[in-house]
């Protein structure tokens, strides 16, 4: 499978990465090189093979449903580029 420049622009938008015409063109070539490389997997017969979901067989650990942490709003927003009264500030999202 290979991608064309329109697919690259669509994927870039899905990935929320702004690209200009030159970026998209360069990425099309790079992505096709990588997709060409992974095409080797078509040689492998995976009939009846289970996909790996956990590399080490283990049951997911669960903890008691109890409050163990909190009260750290100031710490959480401390690194935000913009915050106000312990809220993250973003451009307006509703009209």
């Amino acid at each position: 499978m290979s991608v064309d420049i329109d697919t690259v622009k669509r994927v870039a938008h899905l990935a929320r990465i702004a690209v200009d015409e030159a970026d998209a063109e360069r990425m099309t070539g790079e992505l096709n090189t990588i997709l060409g490389f992974v095409e080797q997997l078509d040689e492998v017969d995976v009939t009846g093979v289970e996909p790996m979901t956990s590399v080490i067989p283990m049951a997911m650990k669960k903890r008691a449903d109890a409050v163990t942490d909190g009260g750290k709003a100031a710490d959480i927003v401390a690194n935000a580029p913009a915050s106000e009264d312990n809220f993250f500030v973003v451009p307006k999202v509703v009209e």
């Binding site: 990465i17 997709l35 490389f37 492998v44 289970e50 996909p51 993250f88």
Partner: protein
């Protein structure tokens, strides 16, 4: 003072306990070495002089009371991927500009609890994506090794290039690193240092910036096998904050060093003999086989038939997980924000400016393979191939093999800004051909220096073990180290 930086962790530990010098003297010796070398090697992206000295003074106090921990007063470098409270933590990316976490990663917290001293944060490929440390926002790390009679700058490998270069150039006693496809073992091989990627689940991933969560694992880079064992013992733990952390006690890895390997079965996989592999790598591998045999191990030929599919499967699984993990960098909660005409444009502009080319490439591949209509063809298929790769190893271990010996890398260190590799991303990816299988199967792997090539550059061998049998790796790697000796670059910086 420079003599102090020549000591291994084991030697420094003994001398600190005997009060031959203070922890502060040892830390000051390293800080002076860093200040003199870092402009040339670019191994550190942040040096924490004041914090290091404060930690060393606290260590001296504890040592004075006879209450020193396992790493009391030992100065370490920390890969920029580990969250360190109040200190530069950016995964060497522009998008995390100014990020200083309000928390400490479990791995580094374990080290500080054992008395270690932090010298600073180490350079790396951006978000650990790279094999040459050239994708860092802070510029490439320069390998302390140079080819004989040459002044050309070589890469230290990646992504833990800063860790490997700093250990090799004696700019820290040991370093933390992480390995998603070979990022501990390949740079260790390129710099004549020892690097171990433990079994998936052995070190907590909590507080480590995520790249590909099902593959990422922390481990040490050290000057010798014993130091690697000492560091891993402190880094590893059972952690309630990481649900993939394994509930097994951490063994005393150092105790395994020096134990005989007589009667052990060492597997030699024929699939690791690649077309176009330099003769020197093949010769080194044969030497390793001889050393194992001389130490009483039984050598058996094995087959791992899906080896060649590990790298292509990795370049689906790792980017897919990365595209999901890196979705959090949106200019809202931390790091860089580039304004846009609306919120979606702000996300797009921030990510366009904040991510480097390699990171964008991988996020794009990951987004594509997970997008509607392609999931089964790519991601699901790759996860099935992963099952087959793991099964290859299980069959070998079930047949009685204790460890597997392979080359660590297909070549020695290459030049900075190598034309062929910058023109073709896949050429760069092939650096991890021998190491990536281990991540795909979740196994432990250690890279140990085994010799120099014709140009005087270090080459490494890799040993692969059964899950949670890191002790076997320390035992076998020590045999190679005893036979091969240790390797130190000539100082030019």
């Amino acid at each position: 003072m420079t003599e102090l930086t020549r000591l291994t962790i084991a030697e420094a530990r003994e001398k600190l306990a005997a009060k031959a010098f203070s922890a502060l003297e040892l830390t000051d010796a390293y800080l002076a070495a860093i200040d003199a070398a870092n402009d040339k090697l670019n191994a550190y992206v942040a040096v924490t002089h004041d914090k290091a000295r404060a930690m060393a003074r606290a260590s001296d106090e504890r040592l004075g009371k006879g209450a020193g921990g396992a790493l009391e007063g030992i100065p370490l470098g920390i890969k920029d991927l580990f969250a360190t409270e109040g200190v530069h933590t950016q995964a060497a990316s522009h998008i995390l500009d100014g990020f200083k976490p309000r928390y400490e990663s479990t791995v580094t917290a374990n080290l500080w609890a054992d008395g270690a001293v932090m010298l600073g944060k180490l350079n790396m490929d951006e978000f650990a994506m790279g094999s040459s440390n050239e994708t860092s926002h802070y510029g490439p790390v320069i390998n302390p090794w140079r080819a004989e009679g040459s002044n050309a700058d070589l890469v230290p490998g990646g992504s833990s290039g800063g860790s490997a270069a700093a250990v090799s150039a004696l700019l820290c006693a040991g370093a933390t690193a992480t390995d998603t496809g070979g990022s501990i073992r390949q740079p260790a091989a390129f710099t004549g240092t020892v690097g171990i990627k433990p079994t998936y689940g052995r070190c907590s991933r909590w507080g480590t910036v995520a790249f590909a969560s099902s593959l990422d694992q922390a481990g040490p880079i050290a000057r010798d096998v014993r130091d690697a064992a000492i560091l891993l013992k402190s880094m590893a733990s059972v952690d309630a904050k990481d649900t993939t952390s394994i509930d097994l006690p951490v063994p005393d890895y150092e105790a395994a060093i020096g134990q005989s390997i007589k009667g052990m079965k060492i597997g030699i996989p024929k699939e690791y003999r690649m077309d176009g592999m330099p003769d020197e790598i093949e010769a080194l591998w044969q030497k390793g086989i001889e050393w194992m045999r001389d130490a009483g191990a039984e050598i058996v030929d094995i087959s791992l038939p899906h080896t060649k599919y590990a790298l292509p499967a990795y370049y689906i699984v790792a980017p897919a997980e990365a595209s999901s993990n890196l979705a959090r960098y949106d200019g809202v909660r931390y790091g860089l924000r580039v304004p846009g005409k609306d919120i979606a444009d702000m996300y797009e502009q921030t990510r366009a400016a904040g991510f480097g080319r390699e990171v964008k490439r991988r996020v794009m591949i990951g987004t594509y393979v997970l997008s509607a209509g392609y999931y089964d063809a790519y991601y699901l298929k790759a996860q099935k191939v992963r099952t087959l790769i793991k099964r290859d190893f299980e069959l070998a271990f079930d047949a009685g093999v204790d460890a597997i010996l392979t080359p660590a890398t297909p070549s020695a260190a290459f030049g900075v800004a190598d034309q062929a590799m910058s023109a073709d991303p896949v050429k760069m990816y092939l650096n991890d051909i021998f190491t990536v299988t281990v991540n795909m199967a979740g196994l432990p792997g250690i890279a140990v220096p085994a010799g120099l090539d014709g140009r005087g550059l270090p080459l490494g061998l890799q040993l692969i073990g059964k899950p949670f049998e890191e002790e076997t790796l320390f035992r076998t790697a020590h045999v190679i180290e005893q036979a091969a000796g240790r390797f130190q670059p000539a100082k030019w910086w």
